[in-house]
Amino acid sequence: MPDDSRKLVTIVTEAALEHEVCGELEDLGAAGYTVSNARGKGSRGVRDAGWSSSSNVRIEVICGDDVANRIEQHLRRKYYDHYAMIIFESDVRVFRPDKFF
């Protein structure tokens, strides 16, 4: 069944961007998203949940290939240079495919 396969795009970034990024995800065509709090370490150093402005969020979007591409292009262009952010993508199978574009 090829029509129930989607992309899972996961974004780990600064908590301060949650509101902005989630709004943009919708504009780019995502039917929904899931957010959880996270902390971590990367090229921009330790980001620890001790203080909200220095912690991370982990945002997941399930969507089709097109939307996934658009999201990745947009985030990369807008945020990658100046913000702590990683994006990765994997293949998932969904149930009730009509819920996801």
């Binding site: 301060a16 150093g45 001790g50 203080w51 909200s52 402005s53 912690s55 240079d81 100046h82 913000y83």
Partner: protein, 312 residues
């Protein structure tokens, strides 16, 4: 020394020694909410008690100071620290704006010495939070990105700290001394204890800046230690000129000499992304905040005393 500042020292020591002591973010949020509401309520009650005739000129003077300070700070950072335009603008925004925690320690300092302060100071705290951030952004980008200003101002003005301070002011003012009395055990009697826990966490956070401090070397320490005194002196002069009491003059000096570590970092991060956030935060939180609570506040109190013709 007021025992609350020892809680900062305890947090700092624990953090530097890599203790596993940590305060959950939810508790940090609770403590800062209570502090902001308390400061607002206190100010509102005082305003209700003695409504002020000559408030308008004072407000104008304080706002003017808020807009002018970053224009002094920006070239200082550029010349002195040779940092990029964006970083200098960011430092100007942080140091031109104010720190609520430093203000709270200043209040505690005065209360301990039974020194009264003018009721409009919490209002000035609110007034001084925003202008420097706006000027800092302008200095960084020369009015570019005008399309985002609406969103940005919304974020600054409706940020948690202004909402709670203004909300507290209004509620205190509406309720007056009698109406507020049943809230006193929570908001007023616990004030010092809440501040102590908050400072403990501030110490833990400041300790996390230690690495950045080592990396960015001497500049941050010098900037963070040398800038507050002249700024605070300007604040004290303004306070004295607009007719504040010695206590009020001290607190306006504290405001001018303190650096924001909540509102400014959040706004600058979004509006001036090319500024290095660690630089300003480390100077503000890792250097200037401890400097102020240990040495600055007593010094500004002395300065205010001198201006008012006393010995401090």
């Amino acid at each position: 020394m007021d025992p609350v500042v020892w809680f900062f020292a305890l947090g700092l020591a624990a953090g530097l020694a890599k203790s596993d002591l940590r305060m959950p973010p939810a508790i940090y949020d609770l403590l800062s909410m209570v502090l902001l509401l308390t400061i607002g309520l206190k100010g509102g009650v005082e305003l209700a008690r003695a409504p002020l005739a000559g408030l308008i000129p004072q407000v104008i003077a304080v706002l003017a100071m808020g807009f002018v300070l970053p224009f002094l700070l920006f070239p200082a950072a550029r010349l002195f620290g040779r940092v990029s335009r964006a970083d200098a603008a960011s430092l100007a925004a942080h140091y031109g704006s104010v720190s609520v925690a430093t203000f709270a320690v200043g209040v505690a300092f005065l209360v301990d010495r039974n020194v009264a302060y003018d009721s409009q100071l919490p209002l000035f705290l609110v007034l001084l939070e925003v202008p420097a951030i706006v000027v800092g952004i302008l200095l960084a980008r020369r009015v570019a990105a005008a399309q985002r200003w609406g969103k940005l101002l919304h974020e600054i003005f409706l940020g948690k700290s202004i909402v709670l301070l203004v909300g507290g002011l209004l509620i205190g003012w509406l309720a007056g001394p009698d109406g507020i009395s049943s809230l006193e055990p929570f908001f007023f009697d616990l004030f010092k204890g809440v501040l102590a826990l908050f400072l403990l966490e501030m110490g833990l956070i400041a300790a996390t800046q230690a690495k950045a401090l080592r990396d960015n070397g001497v500049f941050l320490v010098l900037f963070g230690v040398l800038v507050p005194l002249p700024m605070a002196t300007i604040g004290a002069l303004v306070g004295w000129m607009i007719g504040l009491s010695p206590g009020g003059t001290t607190l306006l000096a504290v405001l001018a000499g303190s650096a924001s570590y909540i509102a400014a970092p959040a706004a600058i991060r979004v509006a001036v992304p090319e500024a290095n956030p660690t630089l300003s935060l480390t100077a503000s939180l890792g250097v200037t905040f401890p400097f102020n609570i240990f040495f600055g506040i007593p010094a500004y109190f002395k300065i205010a005393g001198l201006l008012h013709g006393g010995g401090g």
